[in-house]
């Protein structure tokens, strides 16, 4: 999708959040000289084309006590990577699931998942459960819980 200057003005206007009013799209439109219908259509188009991944309430799970953030890394045989990746990626509580290269001999793991939970024990129990339910007993894995956050800056769209 090719974005117009008008789209970039729209993005600049909404990326910090919609106004919390009865008619937020009309309000955005007033600020950039578009009518409500066009604002809605452009946002819809950006969503369909994937420029916007999602539109909704952006929750800071950390503030709700979701502090047990685990990166689970798996050493998946190459011929099973798609099968296992798709299985794990489809689970509700797994927020990211990526294939990355192995770096032998230091790093044999090629599949990375992110799991968030409120308590470490629950996250570990969830992982145990999914290892059983998804038939992953024979795939070596390791759980890396997060510690200090040294830097976190949301990517801004320009």
């Amino acid at each position: 999708m090719v974005l117009s200057d008008q789209d970039y003005r729209l993005i600049a206007e909404i990326q910090g959040g919609l106004p919390l009013t009865s008619h937020p799209y009309a309000e955005i439109g007033r600020r950039i000289g578009l009518d409500e219908k066009s604002v809605i259509e452009r946002i819809d188009a950006m969503q369909s084309s994937g420029v916007i991944k999602r539109l909704g309430i952006v929750v800071r799970h950390h503030e709700l006590g979701y502090t047990a953030n685990a990166m689970v890394v798996w050493d998946v045989p190459d011929h099973r990577i798609d099968e296992v990746g798709e299985k794990l990626g489809a689970l509700d509580c797994i927020t990211l699931c990526y294939q990355r290269p192995r770096r032998l001999p230091d790093w044999p793991y090629n599949l990375f998942c992110m799991i968030h939970g409120q308590e470490r024990e629950k996250v570990l129990a969830y992982i145990d459960k999914l290892v059983n339910s998804e038939g992953l007993d024979d795939i070596p894995h390791k759980v890396l819980f997060s510690g200090r956050r040294f830097k976190q800056r949301g990517a801004r769209y320009q």
Binding site: L18, G56, G89, R103, F145, R153
Partner: protein, 174 residues
Amino acid sequence: MATPAIIIEQALKETPQPHRTREKITLNDLEKRLLNEYQKGLPLTPTPFADIAAKLGTSEALVLKIIDRLQALGVISRVGPVFKPKRVGASTLAAMAIPEEKLEKVAGMISAYAEVNHNYEREDNYNLWFVVTAPNQQRLDAVLEEMEQQTGYKILYLPLEKQFHIDLGFPLWC
């Protein structure tokens, strides 16, 4: 008789002043439903908050009040879009194994790079994990090399090869 707009304004005024809290925040059932069901799919209708309220069986004023309160508490960062990371440019996940007593210092060096947007400690031999983003692959390689030279530690270079799931938020029963 107050008009709906004035009611909303008053509702918003009653919310606490912005502050960050360390205490665990407990949500009621309505708040949980709101957060579980609307991390994506905000209605693209003239009155999205009224439409959400109708679905949840409550009023627009209360939906807006809840959002405003949770925003003030830092639970909600915004109601708006999450953009797909830009395809142009190059980025990677990277990791380093740093002796514990040097971790803070090295982490500071890494965070100082404008090309770094996330930098975390993780419990592992590889205890420093960060994301590096650059306008092109050449610049990315140069930044990684500079980091290795500056810190004296080797970087595990782990670029994305395939994505099986993108972050669409997650429900609060996790």
